[in-house]
């Protein structure tokens, strides 16, 4: 962890990740469970590979057009690589926010202060689940195009969403994290 990160307070903070320029993204269809690609660990990706750069752009484009979507992992569009997009800037539960970004080969370095919440997933449209997630998180990953490693601390909803997406890249769905036998529910459609 860099000094600048470690010295940051846990107070509300906004530090947008500056993304390298990406090509125009294409809209990709979402894979729905049960599907092997969602339940298998994804492989490391080369962030400088033109195909991975295009994938990063596609994930952002596909995430933007899906109503309420705050994140999309590559295996959710059928590509078994450790890449995902994230943008929680419009979500009411967000505190710290790093904007819209794509991370490659991301991993969690620290996770603390678990809280339980009910979550759903575009790849599991018929269920929701009560899942415990850390609300304080330190993650690191590479940016597409440059391959630069970034490491940052976040909290609240961005922390939860990052764990959900990194779980995808490791082949886990929220169904794998459900807190007990009665923690999975048929999906409700709220007004």
């Amino acid at each position: 962890m860099s000094d600048s990160v470690s010295q940051e307070s846990e107070a509300e903070q906004s530090q947008t990740i500056v993304m390298p320029e990406l090509p125009e993204g294409r809209l990709l269809d979402t894979v729905v469970a049960p599907a092997e690609v969602l339940s298998s660990p994804c492989g490391d990706a080369d962030p400088t590979d033109p195909e991975v750069i295009q994938l990063a752009a596609d994930l952002i484009a596909s995430m933007r057009v899906a109503p309420g979507c705050v994140g999309l992992a590559a295996n959710q569009v059928g590509v078994p690589l450790r890449v995902f997009s994230l943008d929680v800037s419009e979500h009411p539960k967000t505190r710290t926010c790093h904007g819209e970004f794509v991370l490659v080969n991301a991993e969690i370095l620290e996770a603390t202060r678990n809280q339980k919440a009910r979550e759903g997933c575009m790849s599991v449209p018929d269920f929701t689940g009560d899942v415990k997630r850390a609300t304080r998180l330190v993650v690191r990953g590479q940016l597409p195009v440059t391959g630069e490693w970034v490491e940052f601390r976040t909290d609240a909803f961005e922390a939860v969403a990052l764990q959900h997406e990194i779980d995808h890249t490791n082949g886990f769905l929220f169904l794998d994290r459900a807190a007990g036998a009665h923690a999975i529910h048929p999906r409700q459609t709220y007004l």
């Binding site: 309420g68 979507c69 705050v70 994140g71 979500h91 539960k93 919440a117 009910r118 979550e119 759903g120 997933c121 575009m122 929701t128 909803f157 939860v160 969403a161 959900h164 997406e165 929220f174 009665h182 529910h185 409700q188 709220y190 007004l191």
Partner: protein, 172 residues
Amino acid sequence: MSSFAITVVGHDKPGIIAAVTKALAEHGGNVEDSTMTLLRGHFAWTLLVSVEADQTEIEESVAPFASDDLSVTVLPMPEAGHDDLGAHASYWVNVHGADRPGIVATLTGALADQGGNITNLSTRLVNDMYVLGIDIDLPQSVDADAVAATLTSLASDLGVSLSMNAADEDVL
């Protein structure tokens, strides 16, 4: 393909579920939705099974597990589980306090009067402490704040605490 609701209630011991599902599987039965819990230590299981067999065959397949202290019943089920409520919103109601008769009857009666449909309910009594959880769907036409106010008032009369919150889920 027919659908049956099977209930198994009684003295708890290891292996009940394994034995019953093995017998059902041998008759081609597929366990669909099911829920099992211990109610003050008693085994309580309800499961929906789809199967090509008729009711007599299914009853015969599970009959060996019935005993003086374990009840097994088989009921044929229609295709549709419930009426379509139309547009609705979902809420969680949590109640806790000293136990007394009538808490569930009073609160669920008020919900039913408002057209609320219960989708999950759990009650637990340990010593004198009573805990009740209710998941409800309220039709769009119903004023949820008014329902919450009514429930809170009834709970106060019963001497228990009640909170009602909009069901909250995040799609990630």
